[in-house]
């Protein structure tokens, strides 16, 4: 195998113009390069470089390459401490800001309040930044096709012409979900996490191997998600085999599957048949819809373990997400493990460094995830 010429768009989507495709490649390649370099060691200790992470366009993938697919459940783990299922489903359906497993959804109900459609997306916001900047008409058409024919250009773009990730058609759990908007749900975060997780940690003579101890020590991602600790653990397990690792092209987050074990439809039809992928190629779906067509019942009439589907979150319990990495040069890496945990820079606390507003808006303490993600740029 050799290098690839450029990174392709998520799901091998065909929306982008040539300029957009180039911009997308640059964004991914830059993100990967910055992730390889890691933070400035004078600012953050023990978190750089990440020399077992590589750029597919610059470093060859060796013949011993093996792919590793990492999967996790779409329902937000941090809502699991609820006392009842109903409580956690209600909370998950209440706000996109808690849908932090790289999967967000919006629920459509009929006049009787029954669910008729749930749309799920795992498209990174950065892709839509590039698309909206380079092909604004295409972006508008896609919104009209997938969200509502009523979408206007002015709904999507601010007075300065900049695309609004959180616009009126993409900021709720009831009026559409075009792409990810939860602050931690970014492709930049995925790349940074994968790179940081390639650092092996040997602390006081013991090699860290557990998902939770690794994320606590390496301080990548968000510890109480299903996704981040698991991605980090799997990546690190590959790194411990002294292999190099890259995120597979096309870099992205994808739907893995919907399980329908224990689901029952009123007419005995296959509950899985109402799950369709609307965007992305085979193996890389980025948009899925659960909707019953041409039957005399709705999604709300389908039961899961005897309980009717009343929340989109009930479906999310059965959805798995995935990303794919490629590893090679097994046993050949000479990178030494770090013997200490990441030490973030000492910060002077100023009124602006933390505010209740930051917590209420995003639900997370610490660095605002937007600050960790990279901006997209045209070049």
């Amino acid at each position: 195998m050799s290098t690839i010429t450029r990174y392709g768009p998520p799901g091998r989507l065909t929306d982008l113009s040539d300029v957009g495709l180039k911009a997308w490649h640059v964004f991914i390649a830059d993100s990967v390069d910055q992730a390889i370099n890691g933070p400035d060691p004078s600012q953050v200790l023990h978190d750089s470089p990440r020399s077992q992470f590589y750029n597919l366009t610059k470093t060859e993938t060796a013949p011993d390459a093996a792919e590793a697919t990492v999967t996790w459940t779409a329902f937000p783990n941090r809502l699991r401490s609820a006392v009842s299922d109903r409580q956690r489903w209600q909370r998950a359906d209440a706000s996109r800001d808690v849908q932090d497993e790289y999967c967000e959804w919006s629920v459509t109900r009929n006049e009787a309040g029954k669910i008729i459609r749930v749309a799920f997306t795992c498209e990174g916001p950065e892709y839509w930044d590039v698309l909206a900047q380079t092909s604004p008409e295409t972006a508008l058409e896609l919104y009209r096709a997938h969200i509502s024919p009523s979408v206007q250009s002015s709904d999507l773009f601010g007075p300065d012409g900049r695309y609004l990730r959180r616009n009126k058609w993409n900021d709720s759990t009831t009026h559409g979900a075009m792409h990810l908007i939860q602050p931690s749900n970014t492709l930049g975060a995925e790349i940074e996490l994968a790179a940081a997780a390639t650092i092996r940690r040997v602390i006081e003579g013991r090699q860290l191997t557990g998902a939770q101890e690794l994320i606590a020590c390496s301080k990548y991602g968000v510890a109480d998600r299903n996704s981040d600790p698991h991605i980090g653990e799997v990546v690190n397990s590959v790194a411990r085999q002294k292999a190099d690792l890259a995120l597979s092209d096309p870099v992205g987050l994808y739907f893995d599957d919907l399980a329908t074990d224990g689901w029952s439809t009123p007419d005995g039809s296959d509950a899985k048949s109402y799950w369709t992928y609307e965007r992305g190629d085979t193996g890389h779906p980025v948009r899925a819809v659960y909707e019953v067509a041409e039957r005399n019942f709705t999604v709300g009439d389908i039961t899961i373990s005897g309980k009717p589907i009343e929340y989109g979150a009930q479906i999310a319990d059965f959805i798995t997400m995935k990303l794919t990495a490629v590893a090679c040069r097994f046993g050949r890496s000479t990178t030494e493990p770090q013997t200490a945990c990441v030490e973030p820079p000492a910060r002077e606390f100023s009124p602006g460094a933390f505010s209740p507003h930051a917590l209420s808006a995003h639900g997370y303490l610490g660095v605002h995830p937007d600050l960790a993600s990279r901006s997209t740029r045209l070049s």
């Binding site: 999967t71 996790w72 459940t73 783990n77 699991r80 401490s81 609820a82 006392v83 009842s84 299922d85 109903r86 409580q87 090699q207 191997t209 557990g210 998902a211 939770q212 101890e213 606590a216 299903n226 698991h230 653990e233 799997v234 397990s237 411990r240 085999q241 399980a259 329908t260 074990d261 224990g262 296959d270 899985k272 048949s273 373990s305 005897g306 059965f318 798995t320």
Partner: protein
């Protein structure tokens, strides 16, 4: 000793000797390697399917053509009826594929030592096993295989869609043995024997059913392998997916068998063996193991609170999720991390396998593993209510007796004596049971199981849900307060250990490393939780 126990082709149940559990079943005197012969010479012969139901059959005997014709699961149809005898896991899986049957394969992996770094415990037998499901595309699995990478044991549960049962098979080289079907689990002769020590009610089993699926490879934890572990080269290992997917499959399969079972035993307005059904409401016929989602080793004194599993506090799955009691408390009780960290030293927590001499300080990989009400018990109750065979109020009133002890409650179990064993009308059986209990309560002291039930049962239809929910709220609020005191957390730690010891006495507990050991005295009294969240000895 039964064929199931005697054969070397079974799992290495390290926990049984440690717990003083006999390695065989009393009354099962089949001969396999010595004594009387099931076949000639005391050996199984190749190319045959035997029948050997522990506790029922005197010994494995060849199945007749008619008996084989009565089996309609994929193992019988694809293999045995075609005189095909796959002797390895690979042969079995390939045979299904070649027959173009059940092509959707999912591979899972479990090992009680799977989170112990291999280089830290060379003496430890890792006992890693595969669980493999095979299904038709888009359908629930019809075949589940349990085996280890070396195929030293090979066991299969296969769904017979005609008979609506799981058939259970195990390979005892050079033959296969049908060890019973789902109904065998419920028959007095074979109940709890052979494979039905774990398939307690006839369905498939996944003890650690919920997140974080302790011991399973999952999105919560990856099993640790040495760099040169030959398993890495095993094609099945490369197919392993997370146990989060198996949980969904197992729940669906338990529901499938429960539906079939209830359709068979409750028809034409009558229910057969009411005691067989309702023991899953009044008692713990089996349990699942739940835990916190926190890796024990990451708990530090200044770390985040430890959320204990809801199943430790009450049967929330049934009472809150299935019956919909409108509780107000929104978050499970959680303990300061320091209390848990201190408890590990205070009580001498350690993982120990006496058969290998392995011992290591600390708890299981995920903290605070405890038995909780079994999904398969709850599913029976849920379907009974869904099918209007049991009123929701009746089921809730029973489960609210001693509800703070969701498993192994002798108090709730005492009410089983009011459940008839003879066939009963589904229109009246619960009312009759309730009437009997209420009548008895009038002559018994307040606080008796009967009185507790009678008090619940006296609630008006319009209010019982709210009243019972308030009791749960009051209890959880007290538990939430007590767990944030050092003495309270110590009490709950002792209670958890008390319940773990009851689990350890069950044959369901196969491996010593499933649960931690502690320094709590072996003869410490059995403990119970009270409604004020205090812990006291069982009377």
């Amino acid at each position: 000793m039964s064929v199931w126990e005697r054969t070397p082709e079974r799992r290495r149940a390290t926990a049984w000797a440690a717990a003083g559990i006999p390695d065989g079943n009393v009354g099962a005197d089949e001969a396999l390697t010595a004594g009387t012969s099931a076949d000639d010479g005391g050996r199984l012969r190749e190319g045959r399917l035997y029948r050997g139901v522990s506790g029922v059959d005197q010994g494995p005997r060849p199945m007749s053509t008619e008996e084989l014709a009565g089996l309609n699961d994929p193992m019988a149809v694809v293999f045995f009826r075609q005189a095909r005898w796959p002797m390895t896991l690979e042969d079995l899986l390939d045979g299904l594929t070649q027959a173009n049957v059940l092509l959707a394969q999912a591979v899972y992996m479990i090992g009680e030592a799977g989170q112990i770094p291999p280089d830290e415990a060379c003496e430890l037998s890792r006992d890693i096993r595969f669980a493999i499901t095979r299904a038709s595309s888009g359908k629930d699995p019809d075949l589940l295989v349990s085996s280890d990478p070396t195929s030293a044991f090979l066991q299969v549960a296969a769904w017979d869609s005609t008979a609506q049962v799981f058939n259970y098979y195990m390979r005892i080289s050079p033959a296969w043995v049908w060890t019973g079907n789902s109904w065998s689990a419920l028959e007095p002769g074979s109940r709890g024997k052979g494979c039905f020590d774990s398939h307690a009610n006839g369905s498939v089993v996944m003890k650690e059913l919920k997140q974080p699926w302790n011991n399973w490879q999952s999105m919560s934890a990856t099993i640790q392998l040495a760099p040169d572990d030959p398993l890495r080269g095993n094609p099945l290992y490369r197919q392993v997916i997370g146990a989060e997917r198996l949980e969904l499959a197992v729940r669906g399969l338990i529901a499938r068998w429960t539906t079939a079972r209830l359709a068979a035993v409750a028809c034409d307005g009558m229910v057969e063996h009411p005691d067989h059904v309702l023991r899953q409401l009044f008692t713990s016929t089996t349990v699942n193991l739940a835990s916190s989602s926190t890796q024990s080793a990451t708990v530090t004194h200044d770390g985040r609170d430890l959320v204990l599993p809801m199943g430790f506090w009450l049967n929330s799955d049934a009472l809150i999720n299935d019956f919909g009691l409108p509780v107000s408390v929104e978050t499970a009780p959680s303990a300061p991390a320091s209390f848990y960290a201190d408890s590990l030293a205070t009580f001498g927590f350690r993982l120990e396998e006496r058969t290998s001499g392995f011992s290591r300080q600390g708890d299981t990989f995920f903290a605070f593993v405890v038995p909780e009400a079994a999904y398969e018990d709850n599913e029976v109750v849920r379907q009974l209510v869904e099918k209007s065979l049991v009123p929701a109020k009746f089921a809730a009133c029973v489960l609210m007796v001693d509800f703070t002890n969701p498993v192994f409650s002798p108090v709730r179990a005492r009410l089983m004596k009011y459940v008839p064993m003879a066939s009963a009308s589904t229109a009246t059986w619960c009312a009759e049971i309730a009437t009997s209990i209420v009548a008895a309560a009038s002559t018994l002291p307040a606080g008796s199981p009967e009185s507790q039930f009678a008090e619940n049962w006296s609630l008006a239809e319009a209010e019982w849900r709210a009243v019972l929910a308030r009791r749960i709220d009051d209890y959880l609020e007290k538990a939430t307060a007590r767990i944030r005191t050092a003495s309270g957390f110590d009490d709950f730690t002792r209670l958890a250990e008390s319940r773990r010891r009851e689990f350890k006495a069950m044959r369901l507990n196969e491996f010593e490393l499933t649960l931690p050991m502690t320094d709590i005295a072996a003869d410490a009294p059995r403990l119970r939780m009270n409604e004020d969240a205090t812990v006291t000895a069982v009377n």
